[in-house]
């Protein structure tokens, strides 16, 4: 979409998902290596949702950030004109 500049909304979404995904993934890995006390664990802790959910968000975020990066958008706009 035309954003009025070289940054697409999808790029911002990618950055947001990637940063959030990375933070959650790192925290999840830390928790896996150093588990909290049983009484502090959330329900279904053993599924390690923060690891795989963080990973999914990170992958999606990196994809969006790369696919709609400012450089690629500029190249696309130049190709159109």
């Amino acid at each position: 979409m035309k954003s009025g500049g070289s940054l697409s909304i999808w790029f911002f979404i990618g950055v947001s998902l990637a940063v959030n995904g990375a933070v959650i993934l790192v925290r999840g890995i830390y928790e896996t290596m150093s588990p909290p006390a049983p009484e502090l664990r959330v329900v279904l802790y053993d599924l390690h949702a923060n690891v795989w959910w963080g990973g999914i968000l990170l992958i999606l975020g990196v994809f969006f950030s790369f696919r709609f990066s400012p450089a690629r958008e500029r190249a696309r706009m130049a190709g159109k004109s």
Partner: protein, 586 residues
């Protein structure tokens, strides 16, 4: 826990870790950065108020949906699904999908071709200044009040869930919205709404996924709900997991409603009124770059709207099945908010229906995921508020200031006015929030007032679009009669509760059922008065109705695109999926 957080936290549902705070702070920084980035692209009236009319179908469609997906919507409807069961899903399916498709395929051409800036603007072109003034003043007044009330309700939830100070929550969230909307106008609001849409899903989707794993799938969930409600001696517990089969009679379901109220009150009037004439959502679609995008946008919104029950209705049902008291191990029964938040309720540790979503969030989400879930709730609040503020700004500037106060206002003056009105609108909203804090009963009345206006407006707009004989006098008096009759019915029931048997056809009708029937009657009154007055007053000549009314609006020739790019094709796909969902959960 981090000592810094102890300042805010007392007895709260969840406690945030530093990782959660990083995620929340990053979110605030990103939305402000987007506002700053887009400031340079909001120089003209078309840029500031209509986002340059250059949004793609996807962006306009997701913003259209996101403006409605506020945090109160998320938490309130999750609470309603706990209270009423799967019946709450009607507000996402029959209460949205037919109206969105109708907007896309029937009404959008008129809105788009006449190039109006707003729904009151359309009324001005179609009926004249009387109907426009009535609708724009009501809309501006109600929007800013609703914005404040939502702000207050959100802050209360933040206090209950996180222990945050109410003033702190109100100021930080509303000032952030004010900055990014005042800087970048509608384009900034739309960009942030699309971002918020993704964050809401990222933060909330994990609850139904893990909940279904714990419950043993959909069949396990239904069995657990049946077992729990039977243990609590709830009448007709099966009604909590069926959409239609219990709507034959008012007394067979927890909402006290029948199929007539759902199909005609909700599906044909309230949802049509909201999704096709409430400028808060319609403004997003008006920003689309061409007619095909404008038609596709509500269809894309409808496709995602059908999925929203996954993150709203399912958590409520999962709460019914899975929530247990951490101390006794027995079933945890949620109660109405006024009871839960009373001193006695707080002393007993009771939780309100609206807390079911945060409770489920705390159940499954540890550090990091919890921050993302809370960010989803804050994002929902901010997208809803930005929707209110940007719609208010446009209606004030174009339909009140430039029409009634300064008819010769230049484009530059309008943009300046838009930026200032954004600031003033937020300040008034903050004032409303604090007013509600002093007198909470205002909340009930203002929410009812808002509904008074939307249902008759649909009657006025749809007659104006489809019936060329409707006259300016008919439009004005019909809208006024519909609004006043709705106020009258509401007041009647308040004064004499027995009157509910006439207004909602049953003494068992709960609040939602009363809203449905009141909307149905006031819309019918609006239509009858509009038709009656139109038949005895002079209509506008056809030449003045070109591009405004069916039969006098030449539609541009269909683009030569493949079937997969045509709005009608995707409209049919969405309609088929909608019907399948009704049958699946019958």
């Amino acid at each position: 826990m981090n000592p810094a957080l102890l300042v805010w936290s007392s007895s709260t549902l969840v406690h945030l870790s530093p990782v959660d705070l990083i995620i929340i702070i990053f979110y605030f920084a990103l939305v402000l950065a987007i506002g700053l980035y887009l400031k340079e692209q909001a120089n003209t009236g078309e840029d500031f108020f209509m986002a340059g009319r250059e949004m793609t179908a996807w962006v306009a469609g997701l913003a259209f949906l996101s403006a409605n997906l506020g945090s109160l919507e998320l938490m309130g409807w999750a609470g309603n699904s706990y209270k009423y069961g799967i019946l709450a899903a009607h507000w996402y399916w029959i209460g949205a999908i037919p109206a969105m498709l109708f907007l896309a395929l029937v009404m959008m051409p008129f809105y788009h071709i006449c190039k109006t800036h707003s729904v009151p603007g359309y009324l001005n072109l179609r009926y004249g200044q009387g109907a426009q003034a009535l609708s724009s003043i009501s809309f501006a007044f109600m929007t800013v009040l609703m914005s404040g009330i939502n702000m207050y309700a959100m802050a209360v939830v933040m206090r209950v869930v996180l222990g945050w100070n109410i003033t702190f929550s109100i100021l930080v969230s509303s000032i952030t919205v004010m900055i990014y909307v005042a800087l970048g106008g509608l384009r900034s609001a739309i960009f942030n709404e699309v971002l918020q849409f993704f964050l809401i899903w990222a933060g909330a989707l994990l609850i139904p996924i893990l909940g279904l794993v714990e419950a043993g799938g959909w069949s396990g969930l239904k069995a657990k709900i049946l077992q729990n409600l039977t243990e609590q001696h709830v009448a007709n517990p099966g009604a909590y997991t069926h959409l239609w089969s219990t709507l034959g009679d008012f007394s067979n379901n927890p909402m006290g409603i029948n199929w007539v109220g759902i199909v005609f009150g909700l599906g044909a009037v309230i949802s049509m009124g909201y999704w096709t004439t409430d400028f808060l959502v319609v403004q997003r679609v008006l920003s689309a770059k061409d007619l095909r995008s404008a038609e596709l946008a509500p269809i894309i919104g409808a496709a995602f709207k059908m999925l929203v029950p996954i993150i709203v209705i399912l958590p409520g049902l999962l709460g019914l099945a899975l929530l247990r008291d951490p101390h006794t191990g027995g079933l945890l029964r949620l109660v109405p908010a006024d009871l839960a938040w009373s001193k006695a309720g707080q002393a007993e540790g009771l939780h309100g229906y609206d807390e079911v979503l945060p409770l489920m969030l705390a159940r499954y989400c540890g550090p990091g995921l919890l921050g993302l879930g809370i960010t989803a709730l804050i994002a929902g609040f901010m997208s809803g508020m930005a929707g209110n503020v940007s719609a208010f700004t446009t209606v004030w500037t174009y339909d009140i200031y430039a029409t009634l106060i300064n008819k010769n206002a230049s484009d530059e003056t309008k943009v300046k006015m838009g930026r200032w009105v954004t600031v003033i609108g937020v300040i008034v909203s903050i004032g409303t929030a604090f007013l509600v804090m002093q007198a909470q009963s205002i909340m009930d009345y203002v929410q009812a007032l808002f509904s008074f206006f939307i249902a008759p407006l649909f009657g006025t707009v749809i007659l104006g679009m489809l019936w060329k004989r409707a006259t300016p006098a008919g439009g004005f008096w019909g809208l006024l009669a519909g609004t006043l009759s709705s106020v009258g019915m509401y007041t009647w029931v308040k004064i004499d509760p027995e009157a509910v048997r006439y207004v909602a056809l049953s003494m068992q009708a709960q609040d939602q059922a009363q809203n449905m029937f009141r909307a149905l009657w006031c819309c019918l009154i609006c239509v009858v008065v509009t038709v009656g007055v139109s038949l005895v007053t002079k209509p506008k000549p056809d030449s003045e109705l070109a591009d405004l009314v069916y039969g006098l609006t030449p539609l541009p020739p269909q683009e030569k695109v493949s079937m997969f790019h045509r709005p009608v094709f995707w409209g049919v796909v969405v309609a088929v999926v909608f019907i399948i969902l009704q049958i699946m959960f019958w």
